[in-house]
Symmetry: C2
Amino acid sequence: MSLIVQKFGGSSVRDAERVRNVARIIAETYLQGNDVIVVLSAQGDTTDDLLAKAQEVNQKPSKRELDMLLATGEQVSVALCAMALEAMGLPCVSLAAWQVGIRSSSVHADARIKKIDAERIQAELDQHRIVIVTGFQGVDRNGDITTLGRGGSDTSAVALAAAFRADLCQIYTDVDGVYTTDPRVVPNAKKLDEITYDEMLELASQGAQVLHNRSVELAKKFRVKLEVLSSLERKPGTKVKEVTKVEKSNIAGVAKDTSIARVALVGLQHNPGVAFQVFDLLSKHNINVDVILQSIGREDTKDITFTVHRKDLQEVEDILNQHKEALRFDHLEPDDSIGKVSIVGVGLMSNCGVAAKMFEALYEAGVNIQMINTSEIRVSVLLDEEDVNRAVKAIHAKFFDEN
Amino acid sequence: MSLIVQKFGGSSVRDAERVRNVARIIAETYLQGNDVIVVLSAQGDTTDDLLAKAQEVNQKPSKRELDMLLATGEQVSVALCAMALEAMGLPCVSLAAWQVGIRSSSVHADARIKKIDAERIQAELDQHRIVIVTGFQGVDRNGDITTLGRGGSDTSAVALAAAFRADLCQIYTDVDGVYTTDPRVVPNAKKLDEITYDEMLELASQGAQVLHNRSVELAKKFRVKLEVLSSLERKPGTKVKEVTKVEKSNIAGVAKDTSIARVALVGLQHNPGVAFQVFDLLSKHNINVDVILQSIGREDTKDITFTVHRKDLQEVEDILNQHKEALRFDHLEPDDSIGKVSIVGVGLMSNCGVAAKMFEALYEAGVNIQMINTSEIRVSVLLDEEDVNRAVKAIHAKFFDEN
C-alpha cells in the first residue's frame, strides 16, 4: 500500500463533469489499496471572477482581505469533490488549509509554507478516508488565511507529499506531460518520459507553465517523486526525479517567457553597494528579480538592468522613483515588450557546443539578442517579445529536427 | 461610546452597490464614535447557486460537506464588505466564524452556538477596527465548519451582541420593520414602532419572515435590545424589547406560514407511550414538529396529527414507514397543501373576545378551519393553503380596520 498525493488544477475541476472525472481518478487510486491525499485548485475562472468582484468595491483591496476572498475558491472545489466521491460511496473528507494546519508566513498573497501539522490528516487516513485539501492557501500564526501566490497549489501538494513521506506526488493538469517546448508554438514538440529536478526547475522558472519552480524546488529538497500528467487522457505523463535513466546527448527542452519586463537604471553614481541597495529595496517589497546585468555607462556612471514579472513593473518604477535621491541614478528605462527564450539540459554548459548551437539558430532566424544569462544547465536570451515564437521554433528545430 | 452589532441579510449585500451601501451605514455608526461588530449573510442568490452546484455532483450530499461548501458564501460577503470599508479609509478586519471562535454543536446544517471566544474580536475592537463576521456559521469541537440552519445569521448577530454585551443589535433587512401582517397580502398593514420579545417570538415562529424565533429567543434570554430596520431606507424600524411603552388594546399582528405540511398517523394501536415514541424518533432525526393533535380514531385506535416544515415531509414519511411495525399504525396521511394563520398579542388569551373575533372573521370569509392551536399570546388555525391569503386579509381587516 502506498500513499499518493494527487493535485488537480483549476481546469481539471472547472465544472461538475470535470469534478466527477477527477473523482473517478481518485477512486481508482484509492480502490487499488492506496492512501490518497488530494489537493485542489479553485474551479476554472473562479479566481478571476472573485477578483472582478473585489475590483467592483475597491480598486486596491488589502492583500489580507483578498486572501480571505480568494480562499473561498478552493473551499468550493474540495467540498464538491468530496460530494462526488460520496456519490460513489467512498469515505472522504474535505479540509481547508487552516483545518489541516498548513502553517504559513504572514506575507499575504505570497505566503510560504512553514510547517504542516500531521494530526488531522493522519487521523482521517487512519480511518481510511480520502483526504481532500484546499491548495494555494495556508493559515498564519494569527489565524489569518494566507494564499501562497503563483504555483501555490502545486506547492501545497508537494509540501503535503513531503510531510507525509508520500510515495508519489501526481500533478494533474490539462497537458499530458512536460514537452521539449510549447506544443502550441512548435507542433512537433516531444513529450519527455522523464526529466531531472534541476532541468524541470530551469524549465519552470524559464516560463514552462506546467509546474512552478517553487514546487519543483521543494520536491528536490525533500526527494518527492513527481509525475506530471493529464486528468483527461489516461496515459503516463512525465516523471520528475533525481537522476534520469539514460545519459542524454540533447537538451531537455526550450522554454519561453513573455510575462517579463526589463528595467534599466541608467546613470548610477559610482557609490559602492548601490546594487545591494536596489535589490534589497525590491526584495523588501517582495518583488522577484530575475536576470541582472551591470554595465559601464558614460562618464564614470554605471547602468544596472534587470528583469521582473511584468505585473510588478509599475510597482518597481514607483518604488525606485521614490528612492531616486538615495539611489542617485539619472533615469529609468522600463520595457514591457521583451521576452525570454531558454534552453535547459543537464551537462549543457560543460558541452561547449550547445550554447553556440542556440546562438547559431537565432542568427539564422535573424533574431537579435539583447541580453544573455546562463546557469550550469541553462542558457537564456532576452529578445523583443515579437521575436519569441520565431526564436523558439528555430532553436527547437536546430536541436530536435537536425539529429 | 456604545458597542453596536449590525446584521445585514443576503439582499442587503447582493451586489457591489449594495455592499457599498452597507459600508456607508457601518461607517456612519463607526464615525459617530461607536464600536461596531458587523454580521453578514451570503450575497443574494449565492446559497442557492452553491446548492445547485452541489446537486450537479451529488443528489444527497452529506451535511458536513454541504456546510463546507455553503460557508464560502458568507466569507465572500465579509471580505467584500471589508474591502468597501478599506476604500473609505476605515480600519476593519473580516473574520470567519472559526477565526472568531463561534463554537457550535456538531449537528451539521442545524448547529447551535455553544460559546463565543472573546479574544480575537476584543483585540480587534481594542485596535479600533470594525469587525466583520460571517453569519450563519460556526466551528465544532473537531474543527469542522457547521452552519446554523434557518435564521442562522440573525442568531449569530444576537449571540455576538450577548457575548460582548452590545448596547444594541440592529437587524437590517429589505423591509423597514415588523408589520401587523405581510404588506404584500394586506397593503394597508401597519408598521409597529415596538413589540415585545414574546410577541415577536410568536410572530416569528408563526411565519413572519422578518426575524427567526431562534434569534428572538436568544435576545430575550440575554436581554439584547433588537431593532429591525431597512438597509435601503434610512428611517427608524421596529424595536423589540422586554416591555413596550403603551398598553395595547389590540393584537400585535397577523402571521401566515405556508411552508408547513401536515402528517396524520392513522389507526395507532392503544399502546402507552406511542406519542413519545413518535416524537422521540423525529427529534433524533432533528425534525422540528409544530402543532400536535391527538384524537380518538375508529375501533379503539387513535390518530396523531402534527405539522412539520414542508422540506422535511419526505424524510418524516420515510422515518415513520421504516418504523411502522414498532409504532403499530395503520397508515400515514401526508398533506403538503396546508397553511397556518396566527394572531399574536400580549394578553390575548386573557381577553376572551379576541379568539372569537378571529373565528368570526374566518366564518364571514367562508374559510374552513382544520385545526386550532393556542398559546398564552397566540391563536393559530390550520387551513387549506389556498385559503391563507384570504384568511389573513379578513382577520387583519377585522382587527385593524374596524376600530
